[in-house]
């Protein structure tokens, strides 16, 4: 994160890294504050911010707990539709609508998690995928409320009032910083979870579930709770996404969107704090550049992902951290 051109000795560099790692939320938010000024255009920065949060939420279950879920699009989707329907159909205040999106995503995660946690190991990926696709079909069929195939339209939040200050959400930069406020709060909660004893149990489950259980931890409840929390972060990302686009495409809840979270987390570095943002940035930037240049950009993103799985399973950020930690 630091671009100091001064020659620094290895020791000082390591000290700097440790210092940044000690204030990871502040460092991450600082990097995200700069993002719209380095991104090609502001809308892309907003997308990186939102999908970064989505990948962060997914990373709680994949990177930190070691469970590969292919169902997180359901929580992104329910968050987006929950918030979007609250605004467009019921005319609810946008702040409350975001809360509704997060809560509904959490409830969905409770139900999906309760069923999926029963299946262990590799089964988990298939079951979460199937259950999330069930949520997709429900959203698809419930067209009176969700708009079905056409997606939800008219999620319009043009101006917001934050603490007495009127903010113009049509200005992309203002919109970005309003959303960053939410992401910043989410990241500090996320960091707090990781530092808590609960966070330590999560990592214990990842490293050796049997041993964690032998230590007296109820691993089932731990995994379920982690799944629900993870779903709520994704729900927040979904709610912000609905406000950002002012529509909700039905593809938001499709399992291929779950795959995007998997790709972003792996490209960035699973189990790292800032990696998902790096992964989301790389994925969306790549998609942006490739889709402008070639028609079949998914060929390249797919191939790059395959190469990462084969040769750089640590991801970009994970590799940098590994190299610095040597």
């Amino acid at each position: 994160m630091s671009d100091t051109p001064l020659p620094v000795s290895g020791k000082r560099l390591a000290g700097l890294v440790r210092n940044i790692a000690g204030h990871r939320v502040a460092a991450a938010v600082a990097a995200l504050v700069i993002l719209p000024w380095v991104a090609p255009y502001e809308a892309l920065a907003v997308n990186i911010l939102i999908f970064g949060l989505y990948a962060v939420g997914f990373n709680l279950i994949f990177g930190y707990t070691g469970m590969l879920s292919f169902g997180h699009a359901a929580f992104l989707g329910v968050g987006a539709y929950g918030c979007g329907v609250a605004i467009s159909v019921f005319g609810i205040n946008w702040l409350l609508a975001i809360a509704i999106g997060v809560v509904l995503a959490g409830l969905t995660a409770m139900a999906v998690g309760a069923l999926a946690i029963r299946s262990r190991g590799i089964y988990f990926a298939m079951v979460t995928l199937a259950l999330a696709q069930c949520v997709y079909y429900i959203l698809y069929q419930w067209s009176d409320l969700t708009g079905g195939e056409d997606g939800l339209r008219g999620v319009s939040v043009q101006a917001v009032n934050l603490g007495g200050i009127e903010l113009d959400m049509l200005n992309p930069l203002t919109k970005y910083y309003v959303m960053l406020a939410f992401v910043g709060i989410a990241l500090s909660i996320f960091s707090r979870i990781l530092e808590s004893p609960f966070g330590a149990v999560l990592k214990a489950v990842r490293e050796n579930e049997n041993r964690a259980r032998a230590c007296g931890y109820d691993t089932m409840v731990t995994k379920w709770l982690a799944f629900v929390l993870s779903g709520m972060f994704c729900g927040l990302a979904g709610a912000l996404y609905a406000i950002h686009l002012s529509i909700v495409p039905i593809e938001t809840a499709h399992y291929l969107t779950s795959g995007e979270a998997v790709m972003m987390a792996l490209l960035g570095g699973m189990g790292t704090f800032f990696g998902p943002f790096v992964g989301a940035g790389m994925f969306l930037l790549l998609q942006d550049i490739l889709s402008a240049e070639v028609e079949y950009w998914q060929f390249f993103t797919g191939a790059i992902f395959v190469l990462f799985v084969l040769f750089f399973p640590r991801g970009i950020w994970g590799s940098i951290l590994h190299w610095l930690g040597k």
């Binding site: 069923l115 299946s119 990926a125 995928l129 259950l131 069929q141 792996l266």
Partner: protein, 296 residues
């Protein structure tokens, strides 16, 4: 529609339709289940292999004009692609965690989909069943589309052949032993990696056949495998991973449940298979015929 107003004949007809649809699911799930049972690899590219099978078959059909030649070419060509994928992409990942092959095949499915778009275009290919399988056959409860009947027969023949291969040949014995305990098989001097290669080829070939057989009923488009993958997963979870019997029973069950639901409440057709899965997960998390502990 009120289920009590539907005549019994329509019920029987719809159940038969479900069996035909289920036969395709069986072919798909058998391959997925076989690969998992042996290699503990969840093949996320299974839907893509299904799509490749449809394209390869239709391509051979367009060149030769023969449906049957296509049917013979598909398992060979798709299976060969499967062999290459296993040898060069999946093999380096053994021993590096169970998630990696899954992630790799997921990325690979995008590559396949876009390759199909590059080679054949984004619009679907038209394809009809051969003349001999067009029309309808009287099956006692009314006239039933001949092609759907053929699907059921084809599934029974193929699963039968696979069963004979696994149960009655010495190579099948090695495969079954490998699924039980591959280390012992290795100690006995058998090159297990070659067995895995063959199994992956077999599994992908069966996905290809399923894709080709579905081609006359669905449109052949590059994305055709995307929803199919979900169905294949549901069937495997219901039947129990690694179980041949489970794949057959669950495939037919899911096919029939979906067909019957489409008669009573068409908008719930897709949701019905998830309801079956949720029920099975609640009662038997390892699947109807799954062995406990295999997945861990």
């Amino acid at each position: 529609m009120n289920p009590f107003d539907i005549p019994a004949q329509l019920w029987a007809f719809q159940i038969f339709t479900g069996l035909a649809q289920g036969s395709l699911l069986v072919l798909l799930a058998v391959g997925l289940s076989l690969i998992f049972g042996m290699l503990t690899v969840v093949n996320f590219a299974h839907g893509a292999f299904y799509m490749v099978g449809a394209y390869v078959g239709v391509f051979v059909f367009m060149q030769t004009g023969s449906f049957w030649l296509g049917l013979m070419a598909v398992p060979v060509l798709v299976g060969t692609i499967g062999l290459v994928v296993e040898r060069f992409l999946i093999r380096p990942l053994y021993g590096r965690g169970i998630d990696y092959p899954l992630l790799l095949t997921f990325g690979l499915s995008f590559v396949f989909i876009d390759l199909a778009k590059m080679l054949f275009g984004k619009v679907g290919l038209p394809f009809d069943a051969p003349e001999i399988l067009q029309g309808a056959v009287d099956i006692g409860i009314g006239y039933f589309p001949a092609y759907r009947l053929f699907l059921i027969v084809a599934m029974v023949v193929m699963v039968g052949v696979l069963w004979l291969f696994l149960e009655k040949t010495s190579y099948g014995l090695i495969i079954r032993a490998g699924a039980r305990d591959n280390e012992i098989v290795r100690v006995l001097g058998i090159d297990i990696s070659r067995v895995w290669l063959v199994v992956f080829g077999l599994g992908t070939a069966s996905a290809g056949i399923a894709g080709y057989l579905s081609a006359p009923m669905e449109s052949v488009i590059p994305e055709m495998g995307i929803p199919v993958l979900v169905q294949a997963f549901v069937v495997t979870v219901v039947g129990g991973m690694g179980s041949l019997v489970g794949a057959v029973v669950a495939g037919l069950l899911v096919g029939v449940v979906m067909a019957v639901t489409s008669l009573i409440a068409p908008q719930l057709t897709d949701a019905s298979m998830f309801a079956v899965m949720a029920l099975v997960l609640l009662v038997r998390p390892q699947g109807l015929f799954g062995r406990k502990g295999l997945m861990e």
